[in-house]
């Protein structure tokens, strides 16, 4: 069965009739786990992943993922971002220990799973500009490119802003006040690809021209 073709046909149908649809649960097909370069497939196949295999991520993949981030729009082209690439296992373990220490022993399994990826990317946005909130949002868009590029190459990621508390991240990675905390994401081969969570129908999001 040509799942990819079927899915495209389906999307065409949905687009043609202009209606939304709720994503079904069910098993994740094998093709959902493979690298994928078609952007509309990548949007759909990206998943938030919180447990990883130890399979290494080659440096050229990290470079490609960060290149994607670099092309995100940025206020007045300032590009006031930093990306901390964390591959040092000692550093990752330090982060894990600090998180568990703060959240308590019950959080041990959660953080052990969450911090099982071989690579983490911390996304930071400039704080000392005239529109810090715009920089922060621009950092989020750059992070979005990272999630998509990672999925295109076959990796899971997850937008993590609170589970790893900002104050811990600032200490562990020595982040100064020059930068705002956007998020941290793992990059790695998922222990398993989660199913698509239930999604609202497209029409629930859409407002035509203005709120009435």
């Amino acid at each position: 069965m040509n799942a990819k073709k079927d899915r495209r046909t389906f999307i065409k149908q949905v687009a043609a009739i202009g209606s939304g649809f709720v994503l079904a649960g069910g098993n994740v097909s094998a093709s959902a786990q493979e690298p994928e370069s078609d952007i509309f497939e990548v949007f759909k196949k990206r998943r938030s992943v919180r447990k990883f295999k130890s399979t290494p991520v080659p440096d050229e993949h990290i470079t490609k993922i960060l290149e994607a981030a670099r092309y995100a729009p940025t206020p007045r082209n300032r590009q006031d971002w930093k990306f901390i690439v964390v591959k040092d296992k000692t550093k990752i373990d330090e982060l894990k220990d600090q998180c568990i220490k703060m959240a308590g022993d019950n959080s041990k399994q959660y953080y052990t799973d969450y911090l099982s990826a071989p690579v983490y990317i911390v996304i930071l946005a400039g704080a000392k500009t005239r529109s810090p909130e715009n920089e922060l949002l621009s950092g989020a868009v750059a992070a979005g490119n990272i999630f998509l590029a990672a999925r295109a190459l076959g990796y899971g990621s997850v937008f993590c802003r609170n589970s790893v508390p900002e104050e811990i991240a600032r200490k562990v990675f020595n982040i100064s006040d020059d930068y705002q905390w956007v998020c941290i994401t793992p990059v790695g081969v998922p222990d398993e690809w989660p199913e698509t969570p239930p999604k609202k129908k497209l029409e629930e999001f859409i407002v035509e021209n203005q709120f009435t």
Copy 2:
């Protein structure tokens, strides 16, 4: 000349040597203006566009673009977004008039160009949740998907958060306090595709493991 292939070879080289590069200026090749489905090409070819042709954007393209937004990660899968799709020329002109009225006659050409697209999408994020800032960032990631999907289909867009002031947008589109203003973006065929603005080298963004 096969520009696409050349570019891919170049990216491979860059990835292989692990170094960054500054994007050259120069003329935009014809291929930069066509629809493009390869995600790594889309990252590079997306441009912030501020003047458009009147060429209509078919509804199925708008649907496809909003589908892309719908798949963005969202805190606890809340999907607390609204997308106002503005196709009503009267509404767009009202927005233009209000912006010029606020910014003064000198801004007339700017807003006339900026508001020349056939479609605008307003991106809003829920305000009444326990982590409004996370919702706001999630809205920015959804907006990022919109920019990329638009480019994939051959359209320009631009992250606009301040040029169209929030207070004007709230009035024109009747946006309540239930939603946070993320941004508005045009979707349309560019009057011309801008060149890639100068970009920092990749290594200027990267910090290894921690700040020293």
